[in-house]
Amino acid sequence: MIKEYKTIKEIASPLMVVDQVQGVTYDELAEIELPNGEVRRCKVLEVNKDRAVVQLFESAQGINLAQTKVRFLGHPLELAVSEDMLGRVFNGMGKPIDGGPDVLAEAYRDINGLPMNPAARAYPAEFIQTGVSTIDGLNTLVRGQKLPIFSASGLPHAALAAQIARQAKVLGDGENFAVVFAAVGITFEESEYFINDFKRTGAIDRTVVFSNLANDPAVERIATPRMALTAAEYLAFEKDMQVLVIITDITNYAEALREVSAAKKEVPGRRGYPGYLYTDLATMYERAGRRIGSKGSITMIPILTMPEDDKTHPIPDLTGYITEGQIILSRDLHRKGIMPPVDVLPSLSRLKDKGIGVGKTREDHAGTMNQLFAAYSRGKDAKELMTILGEAALSDDDKLFAKFADEFEKLYVNQGNSTNRSIEETLDLGWKLLSILPRAELKRIKPEYIEKYMK
């Protein structure tokens, strides 16, 4: 039997203290019934003898110490999951907001999920062709990977993420795919951009949207990405779908977490974010992956905006330590009009080595990839030297490298938002650019591949 308490002692949004409770457990979900009949939700953060500290998922407005009732539900926050979620739009707490009926639950799942046994993971190794050269050729995405986009205000991360969602496919495979899109504290316009793109390409029927917009309660954002991942896990591991999860924007999520942490008066870590930010982010990001014995997969593309374009800010920094690489967007390239403005050198895909090569992409992929990176890096150094000392100060080789760097940005990186390049096109373009350089400098490619592919 569920008891009702009218013993709220203290409200300091987003926290609330309830007294004289019994049988309440940690992390339990509770409902708050306002005097006007409205019901809101909260969860238990700490329980000390008969006192429970709960965290509201919505605003505290209108809660009244004397008349408001609290009911503890005896289970953690759950999401009703079903295959029928595809094509639907939910709010940040998992309630339908598209005017349709409630989803008929096939199961209820704790939104926190459970840690995946490392011995049960299947290593991600299937190449995903995104049609974007800087990703396919240099920072290859594989199925089951978590590859964030590090962006900053004013940069076109939404366009790149939408392009990936639109073009991504596994070669020679017509399997069941789905997109789970979580809007976390972003604007209506940004969210609508994605949804319109999904509609335009017909992907909307295969998409589940969880939408917490900028004017929705900030604390709700702590639940939104977990709702999305719970839905994704269900579709991937119980319905064998290939799920692409896009979460935007993680920065808003971390700020909501900081807000709750500050309210709890916890000792802050760097820049006021809680010390457990790493662990907290990890419990979300690590839900991506593949499992032995399951056909489905979760590939995750979280998007975050770096405050002040600073990669060492705690949010991008801790994200980079957990995710399997990162795609970094560059303001300089964006200013030059290069689309998508992927900053190739600091970008990285940690899982690329297992996803490329014979039988996956092409035998020359690894060598040309390393050579392009090294050559572009040297070319950029040369160009920097040139701006200080003038072109005359460069050696003949360095001049070629500088030329290479320019051409690389112009042809390889700058492909626009609608070009969908096959992996062969990407690799051939790489060879074309490498032909600018003297042959003796191509140390990272096996000589036989140079013979075979250099035109």
Partner: protein, 589 residues
């Protein structure tokens, strides 16, 4: 003995009624029997850190003390296995509960049903002391597991039996001096937070061969030494750790994945059985123990994982083996300490870390070392500890890096700018150091002659000089340099690209023997020497840079391990001929 929960706050639980329990005792919490450990006692209130998610636990639930401190089971069956932070076998958990780790799973660390072939070494009537070998078990094709008399026990063998046993069956009976008979099994238990005892500690004197050129030649680590690998994300910390785990010439590797990515552990699990040890041809997995407490697994067990790992390492060391412990990453372990400290409402030190952070780090690394083991045969073993550090933003002024640097002797500093240029391993040769260079020099001199270390110093000098010259080039351009300086820059570039860079994903290059390292270094330095002599004779620099042999040096590291001797000799003689040709060609017109 049991108590009642009064407070739950994340992984911290406070229970009352446990006045008789000891600090560090393991307890079972709630109806799900979650595993926890007592941290503090006030009156009869105990603060407990729970190693599993505490969702659904509340006041009133029962806490039961086991009366035992947090311990590991030591015996046959650990090799090739993968454990979580508190030594629960993950493959068995998978069989029991599926792909995810649900709570309260109770599986013994060592398989109770598995039969091992025990071969006695001691005989009835032998007087044995602690650490003496009772018998052996061929645990894997690579490793002979020695069953030892547990520490603090000695006596006369009353009976000992050859045959097939499980780890819980008695294999020998020992009568102590006081007449008490002890039945010994192949399994021992040891509390993880206490060092396993040894007879004597020594200064490390032999290098650990890692097959990594920058490590073995420039910044060597001794067997029994300590090292740290700090670096920002994306600089290749994990690849460096994996390379060391793969190629180090130790008998046993304990790899602790502490708060890191799940897929990295899967990678090790998939890859190690396929790779073979270059020394004995056995699969690398046969000598490896994995501890995986990934970042999504409970934070308190992450704190324990480091101790679980090093205790297992000490146990193998006690058999007389050389063991390497690789911990990736100690920063995540420190964060777990910080989180528990915060929940305990302790006064924080720097950046919220507890004031005892530095002493905990020091205690961990000090468990490494070269020792004479317990036992009358005076065998020697070593534990080498290598920890990755993940400083926020790559800034090593933070407390974990600083506390680590104060204790470790080798520092392989990873550099993101090298990683961006795809120079791997991205170990910066200017900021890294090894305090073992002097201690290990006698060993190198004895094996390869003094020229090995002289070459090393020469190479370091050239790299240093390049750094200074680069400053000048940045200010006034390359033309301002003299021909000799240009040559130094060129040699340094060869050292960087043709020697220090090593591709972990290419078979020929992933492991480089001492011989190959030495010859390769020799090629580059010979080029430098001969060219310098030629420059003195007024030969144009450009022609020297264009000789064909130089390009061959660039590809020399890719030569197969069994062919390098002939091929390198060939390159050397070609180089000589070509430089002489250039000299004969005379001065530039």
């Amino acid at each position: 003995m049991s108590g009642t929960i009064t407070k739950v706050s994340g992984p911290l639980v406070v229970a009352t009624g446990l006045a008789d329990a000891n600090v560090s005792d393991v307890v079972r919490v709630g109806s799900q029997r979650l595993i926890g450990e007592i941290l503090n006692m006030t009156g009869d209130n105990a603060s407990i850190q729970v190693y599993e998610e505490t969702s659904g636990v509340g006041p009133g639930a029962v806490v039961e003390s086991t009366g035992m401190p947090m311990s590991v089971e030591l015996g046959p069956g650990m090799l090739e296995n993968i454990y979580d932070g508190i030594q629960r076998p993950l493959p068995e958990i998978r069989e029991m509960v599926g792909s995810t780790i649900s709570r309260g799973v109770d599986v013994p660390a060592l398989n109770r049903e598995k039969i091992w072939e025990f071969v006695p070494v001691a005989k009835v009537g032998d007087k044995l002391q602690a650490g003496d070998v009772l018998g052996t078990v061929q645990e894997t094709s690579a490793i002979l597991h020695k069953i030892m008399v547990p520490p603090q026990l000695s006596g006369t063998v009353v009976s000992i039996e050859a045959g097939s046993f499980t780890v819980t069956q008695t294999v020998a009976v020992l009568e102590a001096e006081d007449g008490v008979k002890h039945e010994l099994t192949m399994m021992q238990k040891w509390p993880v937070r206490i060092n396993r005892p040894y007879a004597k500690k020594f200064m490390p004197s032999r290098p650990m061969n890692s097959g990594q050129r920058i490590v073995d030649t420039l910044f060597p680590i001794a067997k029994g030494g300590t090292a740290a690998v700090p670096g920002p994300f994306g600089s290749g910390k994990t690849v460096v750790q994996h390379q060391l785990a793969k190629w180090s010439d130790v008998d046993i590797v304990v790899y602790i994945g502490c708060g890191e990515r799940g897929n990295e552990m899967t990678d090790v699990l998939m890859e190690f059985p396929e790779l073979t040890d270059p020394r004995n041809g056995e699969p690398l997995m046969k000598r490896t123990v994995l501890i995986a407490n990934t970042s999504d697994m409970p934070v308190a067990a992450r704190e324990a994982s480091i101790y679980t790992g090093i205790t297992i390492a000490e146990y193998f060391r006690d058999m007389g083996y050389d063991v390497a412990v690789l911990a990736d990453s100690t920063s995540r372990w420190a964060e777990a300490l910080r989180e528990m400290s915060g929940r305990l409402e302790e006064m924080p030190g720097e950046e919220g870390y507890p004031a005892y952070l530095a002493s905990r780090i020091a205690q961990f690394y000090e468990r490494a070392g070269c020792v004479e083991c317990l036992g009358s045969d005076e065998r020697r073993g070593s534990v080498t500890a290598i920890g990755a550090v993940s400083p926020p933003g790559g800034d090593i002024s933070e407390p974990v890096s600083q506390a680590t640097m104060r204790i470790v002797k080798v520092f392989w500093a990873l550099d993101s700018s090298l990683a961006y240029a795809r120079h791997f391993p991205a170990i910066n040769w200017l900021t890294s150091y090894s305090l073992y260079v002097d201690t290990l020099a006698p060993w190198y001199n004895e094996q390869f002659g003094e020229v090995y270390m002289t070459n090393r110093d020469k190479a370091m000098h050239i790299l240093q000089e390049e750094n200074e010259l680069q400053e000048i080039v940045r200010l006034v351009g390359q033309d301002a340099l003299s021909a000799a300086d240009r040559l130094t820059m060129e040699t340094a570039k060869m050292l960087r690209e043709d020697f220090l860079q090593q591709n972990a994903f290419v078979d020929e290059d992933a492991y480089s023997s001492y011989g190959k390292q030495f010859e390769l270094m020799n090629l580059i330095l010979s080029y430098d020497e001969m060219s310098r002599a030629a420059l003195d004779k007024g030969v144009p620099m450009k022609k020297l840079f264009e000789i064909e042999a130089k390009e061959k040096i660039g590809r020399a590291k890719m030569v197969a391990p069994d062919k390098y001797k002939e091929e390198f000799a060939q390159i050397l003689s070609q180089m000589k001929a070509q430089i002489e040709e250039v000299i004969a060609g005379g001065e530039e017109v």
